[in-house]
C-alpha cells in the first residue's frame, strides 16, 4: 500500500480509526484541531459509525469520552495544552475511576507559543494524575502509538495521556497503516460502583492506582517506545524525548552518534534504562521539547551529585521550542546561520481579515468608550484578541477562555464602572455562561459584547454551539430583555451601533450587546461551495 502523507494530527486520527475507536470529542484549539477535523471529514469513520463531535469545551469532551469508555467502547478526547487545564477535573479523576473501554486523552502543547497564551507542558498533568504518557517523535510513531495506547489503557484499565507538540502536530510525513481492528461491543463495567468516587471507594481505587505504578514503569522499560542505544564514548549520555530525538539525529546524518542515547517515548520514565545511562556516563544531556520535566526529575531538589545538562543549567534555553541548531550547540558544535535578516524587514503581525465583522464592532465600541477613557475593556480568546494590536488597540486583557466577563465583574466590584467584556460566541458557550450568571446574580454594572460570527473562527471555522441562540441563553440566565441588544456590525450602521452601545454602557446593571454577522471566511467558503454546486447541477 502506498504511504499516506499525513499531518501528525491526522496520523493520530487515522490511527484511532484503525485501532477501533468509537467516539472522539474535542473543542478546537491550535495545534490539536486537525485530529477531530480529520475524523469528522472521514467517510471511513462515518461508515464505521464513529461518533465525532465538537463539544462545548474540553471538560465536556473528556467527560463524554469517559462516558463512552464506561459503556465499554474506545474513546478519545483532544485539546490544546491549555484545554487540559479546563479538563483537569475529569482528567485527574478519571485516573481514579479507571476506565472500561480504552480511553486516550490527547493534549497538544505549543512551546514557543505560536498560537497560545503560555507554553505549559502536559507531561506534568500525566505525572500529577499518575497516568502513563505517550510522546511520539514522528508521524509514524504517532499513528502506531494510538494502537498501543488503547491496548495499554485496556490492559491496566486506566486512561492514557498522549502528548504531542506543535511541530509534530503540523508537520506532514508518510504513514504506513496497520490492519484495522474492530470496535468494542457495548458492555457495562464489571463493578457498577467503579465510577462512584465516594471517599470510601475513591480511597480504595487510589491505592489501586498507586499499586499500578511499578507495572507501568515495567511497561515503559519493555514496550519498545523507550530505547537504549549504546555508544563507545561514555563522557556523555543523551536522554532525548519525543521530537527532540529527531533534532539529535539531524546532527548525525550518518547515524554515527558516539554516545549512549536513551530515547524516551513513554512515561513513567523507564527506571532501568535511566539508571544505566546515569551510571555509565560522566555527564548527562537532557533534550526535551517543552519544560525541563525529565531534567527536574533526575536532578531532584538537591541533585548536584549528577552532572546533568539541559534547560536548567543554560546548555539549552529555558523557554521556547528546540530546533536542530540549539541541539547542535548543546552538543558542543557551532551555531550555523545564513545571512541575518536585513534591517528593512519589518514584522507582519496577524490581523483581522478585510471585511471582518469584529472590526466594525470594535470601531463602534471604541467610539462609545471615548467618554470613559482607555483601560476598561476585558477581552477573551479568539480572532477578536487581535484588536489589542494597532490600529484598533481596543482591549486590555486576554487571559483564558471566559475570563472577559468575570474579570469585568471583578473590576466593576472594585469601582471600575462601566467595565466592558468582549467575548466571541464560541468562547461564550465554552466558558462564558457561568460568569454571566455570576454577574446577573450580583447585578454587576457591566456591559458584555458577545461578538457573534456564527463560528469558531481562529481555528478555521468549526461550528459554534451558540449559533442562533445567544440572546435566548442570556435571557434564560436572567439578563433583562430590554438590555439584550442585537445589532449588525456594518460600516453603514456605525452611528446607530455607537448609540446602542453607549446606551448600554450607561445602564448600571448587566447588559448584553450582540453584534451579529457571519465570519467572512466561512461566508466565502459557503458561497464558493454554493457556486460550485450550481455549476455541477
Amino acid at each position: 500500500m502506498q504511504k499516506m502523507i499525513l499531518l501528525g494530527d491526522e496520523a493520530i486520527a487515522q490511527g484511532a480509526i484503525d485501532a477501533g475507536l468509537s467516539g472522539i470529542y474535542a473543542y478546537p484549539g491550535t495545534p490539536s484541531t486537525e485530529i477531530t477535523e480529520y475524523i469528522i471529514a472521514s467517510k471511513e469513520a462515518k461508515n464505521n459509525g464513529i461518533v465525532a463531535n465538537w463539544t462545548a469545551n474540553e471538560k465536556t469532551a473528556v467527560e463524554t469520552a469517559l462516558g463512552m469508555s464506561y459503556a465499554g467502547k474506545r474513546a478519545m478526547a483532544c485539546m490544546k495544552h491549555v484545554g487540559l487545564n479546563v479538563a483537569a477535573d475529569p482528567f485527574i479523576n478519571s485516573a481514579v475511576t479507571g476506565i472500561n473501554g480504552g480511553l486516550i486523552v490527547v493534549s497538544a502543547d505549543d512551546p514557543s507559543m505560536h498560537s497560545s497564551q503560555n507554553e505549559q507542558d502536559s507531561r506534568f498533568y500525566g505525572k500529577f494524575a499518575l497516568l502513563p504518557i505517550l510522546e511520539p517523535s514522528n508521524q509514524q510513531e504517532a499513528y502506531d502509538m494510538v494502537h498501543y495506547g488503547f491496548d495499554l489503557s485496556e490492559k491496566y484499565q486506566i486512561p492514557v495521556l498522549f502528548r504531542i507538540t506543535t511541530r509534530l502536530a503540523h508537520s506532514r510525513s508518510g504513514i504506513e497503516r496497520k490492519a484495522k481492528r474492530a470496535q468494542n461491543e457495548m458492555t457495562l463495567p464489571g463493578d457498577l460502583k467503579q465510577f462512584v468516587l465516594l471517599p470510601a471507594i475513591a480511597r480504595r481505587r487510589y491505592k489501586g492506582l498507586l499499586g499500578l505504578q511499578p507495572q507501568l514503569e515495567n511497561e515503559s522499560e519493555n514496550s519498545g517506545w523507550n530505547q537504549y542505544t549504546d555508544g563507545p564514548d561514555k563522557s556523555l549520555g543523551i536522554i532525548a524525548a519525543g521530537l527532540a530525538y529527531n533534532y539529535l539525529l539531524e546532527n548525525f546524518p550518518e547515524g554515527n552518534i558516539p554516545y549512549p542515547v536513551l530515547k524516551i517515548g513513554q512515561y513513567p520514565l523507564p527506571r532501568l534504562w535511566v539508571e544505566k545511562i546515569a551510571n555509565e556516563c560522566e555527564t548527562l544531556l537532557v533534550l526535551e521539547e517543552g519544560m525541563p520535566v525529565i531534567e527536574e526529575m533526575l536532578k531532584g531538589y538537591l541533585g548536584n551529585c549528577l552532572n546533568i545538562k539541559g534547560r536548567l543549567d543554560g546548555t539549552l534555553p529555558r523557554d521556547g521550542e528546540l530546533n536542530p541548531n540549539l541541539v547542535a550547540v548543546a552538543l558542543g558544535g557551532k551555531m550555523i546561520r545564513g545571512e541575518e535578516v536585513p534591517s528593512l524587514v519589518v514584522p507582519r503581525p496577524p490581523s483581522l481579515c478585510a471585511g471582518c465583522p469584529h472590526t466594525d464592532s470594535y470601531l463602534a465600541l471604541n467610539e462609545a468608550m471615548k467618554v470613559y477613557g482607555k483601560g476598561r475593556v476585558f477581552s477573551d480568546i479568539g480572532c477578536y484578541t487581535l484588536a489589542a494590536l494597532p490600529p484598533l488597540e481596543a482591549i486590555n486583557s486576554c487571559v483564558d477562555m471566559g475570563a472577559s466577563i468575570t474579570m469585568a465583574k471583578g473590576a466593576a466590584d472594585a469601582g471600575l464602572v462601566p467595565a466592558v467584556a468582549v467575548i466571541g460566541d464560541s468562547t461564550f458557550t465554552h466558558s462564558g455562561i457561568t460568569g454571566l450568571l455570576d454577574a446577573v446574580i450580583s447585578k454587576s454594572p457591566i456591559t458584555i459584547l458577545i461578538l457573534d460570527n456564527s463560528t469558531t473562527g481562529m481555528t478555521g471555522g468549526q461550528p459554534s454551539a451558540a449559533t442562533g441562540r445567544i440572546a435566548e441563553i442570556c435571557k434564560g440566565i436572567g439578563v433583562e430583555e430590554e438590555h439584550i441588544r442585537i445589532l449588525k456590525p456594518l460600516r453603514k450602521n456605525h452611528d446607530e451601533n455607537v448609540k446602542i452601545i453607549a446606551e448600554e454602557l450607561a445602564y448600571p446593571g448587566v447588559s448584553v450587546v450582540i453584534p451579529t454577522r457571519e465570519c467572512v471566511q466561512t461566508l466565502n467558503r459557503r458561497m464558493r461551495e454554493k457556486f460550485k454546486n450550481k455549476k455541477t447541477e
Partner: protein, 198 residues
C-alpha cells in the same frame, strides 16, 4: 547518490504556499522520496507571515525543521517575506520570489529597496508572478508561476510536477488543471531566461 532538497516556502497567510508544498510533496512521493513538511496553522494564518519547511530526501529525514544555514532555496510568493528567512539559506542557496508585494502593514518598506536587497544576493530568480498569471488568464495561479520558476533548482523532473498538478487539481476539473499547468510552464520559461547567477 543522495538527493536532498531543503526548501523554505514563504508568504502571507492565505497566499497559497501550502498548494505549492502539496504539489512538490506529491511529486516527491511518486519518485519514492522521503518527505517532511511543517506548516503554520492558527493565529498567523490571519494575514501574518507564514512559512513552511519542506524537506525531500532519498534517505529518511530526521527533523521536521530545516536547520538555519542549511536550506537549498527559499521559494516566496511575496518579496518582503523572501528576506525574512535569510538565516535559513545556505551560502550558495537560491531565492525564487514573486516581486509583487502584499501590503497589509502600514510600515511596508519601499519596494525598490526590498527588490534591490534580493537582487544583491548571488542566486536569485525574481518574477512578477501576478502579472504572468494575469497574462495567461488566471490571476489566482500566481503561486503556480512561482512553483514553475523554482523547478530550475528542484531535483525533480518537470514532468513529475506536471503530473502532481494533474493529481492535486484533478478533482476541480480539466480547466483548472490546464490553467495551473500553463502557469507552471510560464514560470519555468521565465526563470530559464532570467535566472541570475553571479
Amino acid at each position: 547518490m543522495i538527493m536532498k532538497n531543503d526548501i523554505i516556502l514563504a508568504g502571507v497567510g492565505g497566499q497559497g504556499i501550502l498548494s505549492i508544498a502539496a504539489i512538490i510533496g506529491t511529486a516527491a512521493v511518486s519518485r519514492g522520496l522521503y518527505v517532511k513538511q511543517s506548516e503554520v496553522h492558527g493565529m498567523s494564518q490571519r494575514g501574518g507571515d507564514v512559512q513552511s519547511h519542506l524537506r525531500l530526501s532519498s534517505r529518511p529525514i530526521a527533523s521536521d525543521l530545516i536547520p538555519t544555514g542549511a536550506a537549498d532555496m527559499i521559494i516566496s510568493v511575496e518579496p518582503l517575506e523572501a528576506l525574512r528567512y535569510l538565516p535559513w539559506l545556505k551560502k550558495e542557496g537560491w531565492i525564487i520570489t514573486n516581486t509583487k508585494p502584499f501590503v497589509n502593514i502600514p510600515n511596508y518598506p519601499p519596494l525598490e529597496e526590498v527588490l534591490a536587497t534580493i537582487a544583491s544576493k548571488p542566486h536569485h530568480v525574481m518574477i512578477d508572478a501576478d502579472e504572468i498569471a494575469t497574462e495567461i488568464g488566471s490571476a489566482r495561479s500566481a503561486n503556480m508561476v512561482i512553483l514553475g520558476a523554482s523547478t530550475i533548482c528542484l531535483d525533480l523532473p518537470f514532468e513529475e510536477l506536471e503530473q502532481a498538478i494533474r493529481s492535486v487539481f484533478g478533482k476541480k476539473g480539466e480547466e483548472i488543471v490546464h490553467t495551473n499547468l500553463s502557469a507552471l510552464r510560464a514560470g519555468r520559461d521565465f526563470a530559464l531566461q532570467h535566472k541570475n547567477q553571479a
